[in-house]
């Protein structure tokens, strides 16, 4: 009897593992297939996993290294792909830092002070955040055009302008951060205030150092979401040198996708890898954040 139960339990365990492995295969096969395509010969479509098909051409193309193609010509990519990646990293990094700066002070104020209109402004921020951004794109365009006439480095087709528009998304972070400040006991600044610190000193010297990990997580999440955005930059950035990665690689989709498939695969991996690594480095904290109200998804 007990051996029958034992067998049944083992069988069940085996079935569960088989099922999980099957799902894991479905999850991983697209990723492996993209990796294998990126290492196959440029232009060979039905590639599969043949060893003689192995080639670094797609990667050389993406990284801007000249290579010799099947016809014996020396090919160099006409697209500044590494520059796009750099642009993306730059814009995302600066947006994340600035957004953190503005949202921490606001969130701190909402968490620590009682003031008139606090509840209402919180609610208002939340609701307005839901407005579909699509139409605002036109407004953004005109606004940057307007600003650019006075301050050219914040006009259309500049990274400054793009970052400026991203900063409008600050309120979303305020919510996440306020939740975290709420969990910190008030007593920690109160004693500092007793010793004669101003509120601002208490905030920068005592509170901020305590929330470094949380700041890092929110900063990285902002970084990731800015990196992934393509609608806004595709409307605001015109010249090829200014493009972000997400906008630039659309070129591979729009013109003869089939023959560029390998190059696109390599470009995708190049773009996805840093973000994926970042994500795994902070995923524990994200899980906690998710349980408190949805971060991405």
């Amino acid at each position: 009897m007990s051996s029958y139960l034992y067998k049944k339990k083992n069988l069940k365990k085996l079935l569960i593992h088989l099922l999980l492995i099957a799902i894991a295969v479905v999850v991983l096969v697209p990723i492996f297939s993209v990796i294998s395509v990126s290492f196959s010969k440029a232009g060979s479509l039905k590639s599969g996993f043949k060893a003689d098909d192995f080639s670094l051409d797609n990667w050389k193309y993406i990284l801007g290294i000249p290579y010799t193609n099947a016809l014996g010509e020396i090919v160099t990519s006409p697209y500044p792909i590494m520059k796009w990646l750099f642009n993306s990293l730059k814009v995302s990094f600066l947006s994340a830092i600035l957004m953190l700066t503005f949202s921490t002070t606001a969130a701190y104020s909402l968490s620590r002070f009682k003031f008139k209109g606090k509840e209402a402004s919180l609610m208002f921020l939340m609701v307005m955040q839901m407005f579909p951004n699509m139409m605002a794109m036109i407004a953004f365009y005109f606004m940057l055009d307007f600003i650019g006439q006075g301050v050219p480095s914040f006009g259309i087709d500049t990274h400054g302008g793009l970052i400026l528009i991203y900063l409008g998304g600050t309120p979303f972070n305020i919510w996440l951060m306020k939740g975290y400040f709420d969990t910190l006991p008030k007593s920690i600044e109160e004693s500092a205030r007793m010793d004669g610190c101003t509120h601002f000193q208490a905030f920068t010297k005592i509170v901020l150092p305590l929330c470094t990990p949380m700041l890092a997580v929110i900063g990285l999440l902002t970084f990731i979401s800015t990196f992934s955005d393509f609608i806004l930059p595709s409307i605001l950035l015109k010249s090829q040198d200014q493009m972000t990665f997400a906008v630039g690689i659309q070129i591979f989709i729009s013109e003869s996708f089939a023959s560029r498939w390998g190059q696109f695969a390599a470009a995708s991996i190049l773009g996805a890898l840093p973000i994926s690594l970042l994500f795994f480095s902070i995923h524990r904290y994200i899980v906690d954040g998710l349980a408190h109200g949805g971060v991405k998804g």
């Binding site: 999850v27 297939s33 503005f102 606001a106 701190y108 003031f115 407005f131 579909p132 309120p171 996805a272």
Partner: protein, 468 residues
Amino acid sequence: MWLSYALGISGFFLIAIAIYIYAISKKDAYRFFYPAVVLFVLFSLVPISYSIYVSFTNFKTGHLLERQEVVDLITNEKIIEKDSLLLNYQIIKYPNSYLLIVDNLSGLFNGQDQSIQLGSTTILPPNGIPLANSELLAFIEARPEFVIHHPALGQYFFYRSDLLAKTVPRYRPHGQEGFIDSLTGEKLVEDVKEGQFKLAGEAVGPGYFTFVGLQNYKELFLDPATKFVFFKTFSWTIIWATASVFLTFSLGAFLAVLLNDLEGKSKFIYRMIFIVPYSIPFFISVLLFKGMLNKDFGEVNNFLSFFSVSPVPWLEQKMWARVSVLMVNLWLGFPYMLLVITGILQSIPKSIYEASSLEGATSFQNFRYLTFPLVLRAMIPLLIGSFAFNLNNFVGIYLLTGGGPVIADASTPIGETDILISYTYRLAFEGSQGQNFGMAATVSMLIFVIVVGITILNFKVSKKLSKT
């Protein structure tokens, strides 16, 4: 117009309030809060107010100009006076001046002059260069009002790069802001409602954008063709969002429960594998699937061909396209649910299971009566949030199918997988019949109402749950 007013007014108030907060009131609460308010007002509120404003206007192709610009265009339209002569001319450029030569007459002028008197100059200054045709065009375009006084024929204007003509405005001002066509003597009628000048029912010049009240909203709900497209897209949007949430939640919950019962390292490894799709930027995964699902060279059909399955039109045919967007979204979205539900499962105290096992409950009963209700209760706000997210999941649709396949008999360009937000995008940015910003803004407003409704519901449900 609206934008400059909105920016100006809000800029004024923002500065005034800033002075009050930082110099006069010195209240810490506001000093900490204010910088975010400035950003919010300038880069969220002003654009939103602009969208709302546009939804009440006819801002679209053919009505992109402001009224004054249209009036200027009409005022500047010139015709050649009846029975007048056309004159050939040449311009010779000197270091500091220009020489205009018409037949045996000529006149010197400098860059700022707005008129010139032709006379019979006999001595031509040396070292001049004739202006080439290409330069001439720009030169005369910059001088629409430049008057050339001909001693015998009267006033002439630049007409073409080789001709001077006696031009007169086609439309003579008449009364307050009115015009009369000097060719026919008829009055130009301004259709204020439509934003268009008309002559005997025919449009004259481009239209201007104007406030049209609820016209866009009426069209959306009452015009049969537009209504058809809107409600078709609306119903698919709801199906899409519901199915996406249901599928990702089901798979995520199923895997979370399975993984939760496992022991040791395998649990950790599986979990890491399953959250890989979540770690890849959304747009990259969607574009990669677009390639893999390509009918002719995609890996998926390639793989299926081993089993002699004929190529499936994954993105080209209505049913398959809908299945594809949902499946890709499942692949992308289930890890989020898995992560969240895992968190919830770990927070359920083990003791309740011990109690139920003392009562002799099976593991299925445990799931049915304990785990599932607890998870669902904690998940409802997140499920509603995920629903709202998918309602506006532009990337998941647009980058995969582009909204296609296109519905052939629709009045505006729209596809079978288009959701409201991608419909908005089409209306605003890629209409084959021109851009219709007014209607796009109107659809945005409706989406906003729906999403806010869901959010309020979300709040109510969360509050109710936190009370019980």
